[in-house]
Symmetry: C2
Subunit: 594 residues, 2 copies
């Protein structure tokens, strides 16, 4: 099944739902305009469609293999990687001072959505490099930037993020890998790490590992962790590639999906490393790049959902079965059966919502970074912080659910591996887990992001969302407006209740019990708000005679589909939000036992 | 991960939620009492835990293989099959006249839940035999029953259901396989069939294929299809095994899950067959057994969910990570984190609801068959018909969602195949598809079952459900009662609206658009009703000093968990139910295109 980059949807979201004006007004993106957006998306679509998508199935079948002390990627991946980096994709949003193009993160995310749609297992390799770039950019010395950052930005080398250990997953504070000073300014790294995505491969000359470990005598727990850099190959004084460093992959996991992405168990056995940033500040340094990594995973959820959607739409267009109630055709395409059309419409609406949430998060990060006025910058930072866990968790849950709907559209063929639908369902399942499980995201939202500014960011967002009601009432009659009004008042009630419980001495368990449902409620409603803004933008464009009127009418219908099929969830979310922690204490281990 | 049959939950559901009294009152089950129920469940648990569960992972890895013109099952399956049939499981609910034990279908379903939990790929083989047994029992001649039925009931032979063709899936009326009279009373079968579960294997001496095909000059469409029986090996006059019949597996599908269950492409090349039942009545004959097959698939959904739940509960009990807000323990079992406890509690509540729905459907079938008073029998038949699509679709959707939650509880380990969580997620995904996709179930519910008696069965069920409100108000304060009351009034509103739209000339598309959401609403609420009845039964048992008081308190909490986390969905379902078909017509192919 071939993939077609959704250029129209991506462009519409960036230009008309979110708008480029705020970004342009900062002056930080002198090259940015609608034409640049279109050109970047088109180029991304070309490499994703032409180079990456054709390797998706073969990569799944072949997988990456550990041979000796190195990982051999699936056939064709090395060549595809070289084609990919020629496009300059690693540097799209990187600083111009180090060879980047200095464009907004939001545009990079939009371009990478097509990469993840085309080949999610491949996409993880550049995605992890982007995380290493961000970490080095923020915390590296000038020498480290010159030596490593520019090679990562060009794509000549890749980066890997080395955090997890068997007993330190969600709780990184428990990690035990050590780094001992060697006396020459470098450190000797020891320990075993797991879940190291693209931790080894032969597609580039070198791989830059960003490793969390403890210095001797470091405090126990999260405040005793430092960040290190260890290249796979040490560098000679002239910068040429020297000896292999003392670390290696000792296992590649046998996984449900993303088979072509090697998930390595890595052993560090006296590996030479440099400190990045300040001693014992490793976790804090990681947090500075965590928002970016999390929204990038959200975009993976959107990407895999888009792919599953396109695959299912093609099947529903071709497959004929039964008489259509609409057309009367005896052996009609199944797209002409209401239940199938409804399923595809809901898939499309949810994808559009997730896409807007993720790109809005990226844009908030851009504005937080580039706004000259510190108050404005702080406001955008608050928006970025608030949206990040929602972008990550809501979009990746959506990815799994949409991939499952994609299988269902295929009927029996969906369960046969050859249609591809099953692969999307397998691949999609990792995104709710890594980069902080969605449960962790929900706890981050209610435990930190919601209250870090006394709830100001959430209140500001709610007030902004309310302003959609008046224009919406001019576009729609009745239900579509009511549903948004109800949804907004549910968000407001839930937010106030949570802030109140959070402030109460005995409220923590209630807040944590509510976390998942609150995140889902926020995602449902924020997504609906963006779709409503999209419908309003479509109406304006249509009134101005710009764009394809039929397609714009579709955006107006799309919000209605979303309102009828998703926004109605608010009351179920409220019931779950308010259930309280005490009920769960009655579900004792003895009660839970079979 | 070892499996433990949930004897307490199964027994409680049969004996206290549903009650044996109605079955006993028919006089059709003279042996039935609480001790028999316990003994049967315990024996089922033993074979499932001891014989079938240990082959689940190895069966998934090895799969079934096509070699030459035969399928070789995964290692150990043949021996396990022989152990299994020694228990007499194929005849539990079969008529005593042909070697069965004449116990209720509901008890058989409860026993088979443990089989599907233990090894879903294995469970399909006896499950398909049960379908063949039911078809032969209803439509076979005495000679066919003597020759084939008894061997199927003893398990000496297995049965296969041969329906689907590449262009005839959901629309069986389109099938083209032919059966030509040979002049000696037998027929020559020709055609290719797909998705034939356990269509071939070497575990038994013979396999009885029940095949849909067309007689010469049969009318086009669904009214020209007849049912045939073709054994893999023809029988000599003395009943001994003769020549191999002219059909064979020509392919085994490469599937997402249930790898050990061979899904065969079968070629019939002049195979010798007997007619079963009346010419051109094949589809109607199939429909008489379809309810049983559908609820059996619903039970698969419950079984795989139970297995995923147990696996996740064990992991959450062992895995330690982070400080518990409840216990203060620094490195607490993740079960002591509210979000994990909530997830497991919701899994358990949804499984209990699905289990009750499926067993209630089986019990309604038993009562429809065995009630002496024809009016009573008719009422139970209406209940069976109404519940069947809900049991099938709601429970299998639940199976997928609970399996996905099971992965999530494991964090990163859930994505690694070795924990088993990934296998449940893969295996579970077939159940919403086969035996009529869940979309077909929803259409069956709103298009046929709801209105076949003018809505009488639905109204009767709603009235019966309402009677729970008074005792519920004596057990709980506030929310748990309100939620059930709201849910019941939502079901009533939706049902009346659908009956009204169904009667309207232009209402068909609205009804079909609503189908999925209506089925989900019905399942949510009926499941909640059974959990409420369970809570009330638990209270009574506790008051009488019977049973384990802590466990019974757990049943009282379980309904509250369900009410807070599932019953709140009613308003979202209502919004989707009422959206109307016209909205979807605005989602044109041009709008849906990427």
């Amino acid at each position: 099944m071939s993939y077609r980059a959704p250029l129209r949807d991506l462009g519409f979201t960036l230009k008309h739902v979110l708008g480029l004006e705020d970004l342009q007004a900062t002056g930080a993106y002198p090259d940015l305009d609608a034409d640049v957006v279109d050109a970047v998306l088109e180029a991304a679509g070309q490499v994703s469609e032409g180079t990456l998508a054709p390797l998706n199935v073969s990569g799944d079948r072949a997988g990456s293999k550990l041979e000796g002390d190195g990982v051999i990627p699936a056939p064709g991946f090395g060549e595809a990687y070289r084609t990919f980096i020629e496009g300059g994709w690693m540097g799209l949003a990187a600083p111009t001072a180090h060879g980047g193009q200095g464009l907004p993160k939001a545009l990079e995310l939009a371009a990478f959505e097509t990469v993840h749609s085309a080949n999610m297992a491949f996409g993880l390799c550049p995605m992890l490099s982007l995380a290493a770039i961000e970490a080095l950019e923020a915390h590296g010395t000038e020498a480290q930037k010159t030596t490593y950052l520019e090679k990562l930005i060009s794509g000549e080398w890749t980066g890997a993020m080395v955090l997890t250990e068997p007993n330190a997953g969600s709780d990184l504070g428990a990690l035990t890998a050590t780094a001992t000073p060697k006396g020459d300014g470098t450190y000797s790294l020891n320990g075993q790490k797991i879940y190291i995505t693209w931790g080894d491969h032969d597609m580039t000359d070198n791989i830059v590992h960003m490793v969390l470990a403890r210095l001797p005598d470091a405090p126990l727990g999260p405040k005793g962790i430092s960040l290190f850099l260890a290249p796979k190959y040490l560098l000679n004084a002239d910068g040429s590639r020297g000896e292999r460093n003392a670390f290696r992959p000792v296992g590649v996991e046998h996984k449900l999906g993303i088979h072509a992405s090697p998930t390595c168990v890595m052993a560090y056995e006296g590996a030479t490393a440099e400190l990045v940033g300040l001693p014992n500040e490793g976790l804090a340094h990681m947090f500075t790049m965590m928002n970016a990594a999390r929204v990038a995973v959200g975009v993976e959820g959107v990407g895999i959902a888009e792919r599953a959607y396109q695959n299912a739409l093609a099947y529903a267009t071709d497959r004929r079965q039964g008489r259509s109630v609409w057309t009367g055709e005896a052996s009609a395409p199944i797209l002409d059966h209401p239940d199938v059309r409804r399923t595809l419409s809901v898939m499309k609406a949810r994808i559009a919502a997730g896409r807007a949430i993720c790109l809005a998060t990226g844009m908030a990060a851009d504005l937080a970074r580039s706004s000259a006025d510190p108050d404005v910058a702080r406001q955008w930072k608050g928006r970025e912080d608030l949206l990040t866990p929602i972008a990550k968790a809501w979009s990746t849950d959506m990815g799994v659910e949409v991939a499952s709907m994609g299988i269902q559209i295929h009927g029996g063929m969906g369960f046969i591996e050859e249609t591809g639908a099953a692969q999307y369902y397998r691949d999609a399942r990792i995104a709710p887990i890594y980069e902080g499980t969605n449960g962790i995201q929900a706890m981050d939202l209610v435990g930190r992001k919601l209250s870090q500014d006394g709830g100001a960011s959430a209140r500001l967002l709610i007030e902004e969302m309310k302003t959609v009601l008046t224009p919406l009432a001019a576009l729609y009659d009745g239900k579509p407006v009511e549903r948004m009004a109800n949804a907004l008042s549910a968000v407001e009630d839930a937010t106030l209740w949570l802030l109140d419980r959070k402030a109460a001495e005995d409220g923590t368990a209630d807040v944590l019990t509510a976390a998942d449902a609150y995140l889902k409620l926020m995602g449902d409603v924020i997504g609906g708000w963006f779709l409503a803004r999209g419908a309003l933008a479509a109406q304006t464009l249509k009134a101005n005679g710009e764009g394809d009127a039929d397609w714009l009418d579709g955006r107006i219908a799309l919000y209605e589909v979303y309102a009828a099929n998703v926004l109605g969830h608010v009351s179920s979310r409220l019931a779950a939000i308010g259930q309280g922690g005490d009920l769960l204490l009655r579900m004792t281990p003895a009660v839970l036992a079979p």
